[in-house]
């Protein structure tokens, strides 16, 4: 049985998922994910025509609250755990393409 996934697929998905996988991990995952997807293929075989999908098992709809301002988390408490912080904002490395 051929693997539903190629190495190129796995590399593409890793990029989408923001995971800097090693070459070894790409190989392992190509095999493991392929095996899991094959196992999941029995789901694909079922006849589900006319069956609506379930996204929430206990359906509640239009859960709203009044549009009133309420206290939130203290900004200092939130920033206290930041890896890097400046002027009350989260500091990150440069975003690609921005002028220095």
């Amino acid at each position: 049985m051929s693997n539903p996934l190629t190495r190129a697929d796995v590399e593409h998905v890793a990029k989408l998922a923001r995971l800097a996988l090693s070459e070894e991990e790409v190989d392992q995952l190509t095999a493991q994910l392929g095996a899991i997807l094959e196992h999941a293929a029995d789901v694909a075989a079922l006849d589900t025509s006319g069956v609506p999908p379930t996204s929430h098992p206990i359906a509640l709809s239009n859960v709203l609250r009044p549009d009133e301002v309420r206290p939130s988390l203290e900004r200092d408490a939130v920033l206290a755990m930041a890896p890097a912080e400046e002027d009350g904002r989260f500091r990150v490395p440069r975003i690609l393409g921005e002028e220095a």
């Binding site: 890793a14 994910l33 694909a44 999908p53 206990i58 609250r65 755990m81 990150v92």
Partner: protein
């Protein structure tokens, strides 16, 4: 000399009463449990963080409140172990992952806030599979936990630490989360009671999200009564959780001893016949059936054919939702941030990718990858869309079963505790541990595991009772009847001298 002067090994109901009447102090109770943890958790590794100072301070406050004549909450002075998926203000919360190592939340999860308001003493944060992904606690980003009944074996997962802590009597109560069976399966492997409430019954606010349509928090105890006591302190509407059920729950603890005469019990045929089921596990389900009949219930077999597809649907839906939930761990606002190697500068995308590569373990990466693929363009409908439709089929099958039956009976885990390392090389083999528990998460209903006895190797066997959504009262009543019949009083011999 008796362990903890007889305070360790008492139920929560007993301890709460002793503290209320002033026979013992909350400080003594907490100290006794902390001493036991210190002496024996080295072998079990059920805790990632023992909250010695804050637990002692909380206990002292309970004693002061009692001395003032204040009214005490239902869990006043009772130690509770908290799975490290629940945000606890000022205590580290790691989700069992290096990516959150050292992180302290700026707020309490609703469940923890409610337990504190009920007077419970948070004694520590328990070990777990990373981001609740696993069935053995071997995926912990820190170290695996062990089963107190045999420390060469797993406690189950993902709430392995919570189950082990209660089994080892480090605390009479613990809380966990159950997305695919992660409360019930470790409860079964550790010989304690563990329950998964109806989806939306317990607030998910402040719980690290794994799969948002499947996650639910729930209680562990050594008895059904203790489990019900803890559940009632946890549950109820929370405006901070948009999936929280608005209506008030039907009381369960008060009706526990009402009996089950006339209760219609269905034994789920397909789950008693799963691949690899241990004969002693099947025998335990037969015993449960007999106990139900003796107690006045009507028992019959019921077929729920689509449970066969539960595992496959779950291992598309859960990873898909997880891939979305775990996108937030990117090194920007909290947790680990990877530094660029010397001589290289990161842009933010490279920082994200390096952070996640370093911070996440193998199983987490596997599920993120699987989920991302299942949701990606061109595959969404074939995988995730199809799994959601299969989910509807499973819900319909159970609804049909509940037209004829009030509760259902099944194994919890196909086997008793396996050895550490036995299943780590084959992810699919590990996933099979959840085949009996997963259907309840897909349907959003409630279920409980009750200890039935020990197998030939002295390892605990659990049986599972299932009820429809919002059926906690009948579920607990049925579980109480089984508990009374099984009369399971065995305890792990952790730390005891040979007789």
């Amino acid at each position: 000399m008796r362990d903890g002067d007889g305070l360790v090994g008492r139920t929560a109901v007993e301890l709460a009463e002793l503290i209320r009447t002033g026979d013992v102090s909350a400080v003594e109770v907490t100290a006794a449990h902390l001493a036991r943890i210190e002496a024996l958790d080295g072998e079990v590794r059920s805790f990632l963080c023992v909250a010695g100072d804050s637990a002692s301070a909380a206990a002292a406050e309970i004693d002061a409140a009692r001395a003032r004549g204040d009214e005490l909450g239902p869990l006043a002075g009772v130690p509770v172990a908290v799975k490290d998926m629940f945000c606890t203000k000022d205590l580290p919360t790691t989700a069992g992952s290096r990516i959150l190592e050292g992180w302290r939340p700026p707020y309490d999860s609703t469940v923890v806030a409610r337990l504190r308001a009920a007077g419970a003493v948070v004694i520590g944060k328990t070990n777990l599979d990373e981001f609740a992904m696993g069935s053995s606690n071997e995926n912990s980003g820190f170290f695996p936990a062990a089963n107190p009944w045999d420390t060469t074996r797993v406690p189950g997962g993902s709430s392995g630490g919570s189950a082990a802590a209660v089994a080892a009597r480090f605390a009479p109560l613990a809380i966990g989360t159950d997305t695919g069976g992660s409360i019930r399966q470790p409860a079964s492997l550790c010989g304690v009671v563990g329950m998964r409430p109806t989806y939306g019954r317990v607030s998910r606010y402040g719980i690290v999200a794994y799969a948002s349509s499947l996650d639910q928090a729930g209680p562990f105890g050594t008895t059904v009564a203790d489990t019900a006591l803890l559940l009632e302190a946890m549950w109820g509407y929370d405006p901070m959780d948009s999936t929280s059920i608005p209506s008030a729950p039907e009381p369960a603890l008060a009706r526990l001893e009402d009996g089950i005469a006339g209760l219609r019990v269905g034994v789920v045929q397909e789950l008693t016949e799963v691949e690899g089921i241990q004969p002693e596990v099947r025998a335990a389900v037969d015993s449960a059936r007999n106990l139900f009949e003796k107690a006045g219930a009507e028992v019959d077999i019921v077929s729920v054919p689509s449970v066969e597809y539960g595992l496959s649907a779950y291992y598309i839906i859960a990873p898909a939702e997880a891939s979305s939930n775990l996108a937030r761990y990117d090194g920007v606002r909290y947790g680990l941030r990877a530094e660029a190697p010397p001589g290289r500068e990161f842009d933010v995308a490279a920082m994200n990718a390096a952070t996640r590569e370093r911070g996440f373990g193998a199983e987490v990466k596997r599920r993120i990858m699987l989920g991302t693929y299942a949701l990606s363009a061109g595959y969404y409908d074939a995988y995730y869309g199809q799994a959601q439709r299969v989910r509807t089929l499973i819900i319909r099958d159970f609804a049909r079963a509940y037209e004829r039956f009030d509760v259902l009976l099944a194994p919890t885990s196909p086997t008793t505790a396996f050895e550490l390392g036995a299943k780590t090389s084959d992810p699919l083999a590990m996933y099979l541990s959840d085949v009996c528990t997963i259907p309840t998460n897909l349907t959003g209903a409630c279920a409980i595991s009750v200890p039935a006895g020990l197998d030939g190797a002295g390892l605990p066997i659990g049986v599972q009772v299932l009820a429809p959504a919002l059926g906690e009262a009948v579920l607990l009543r049925a579980a109480r009847a089984l508990e009374a019949g099984f009369a399971f009083t065995a305890r792990p011999k952790l730390g005891e001298e040979a007789a």
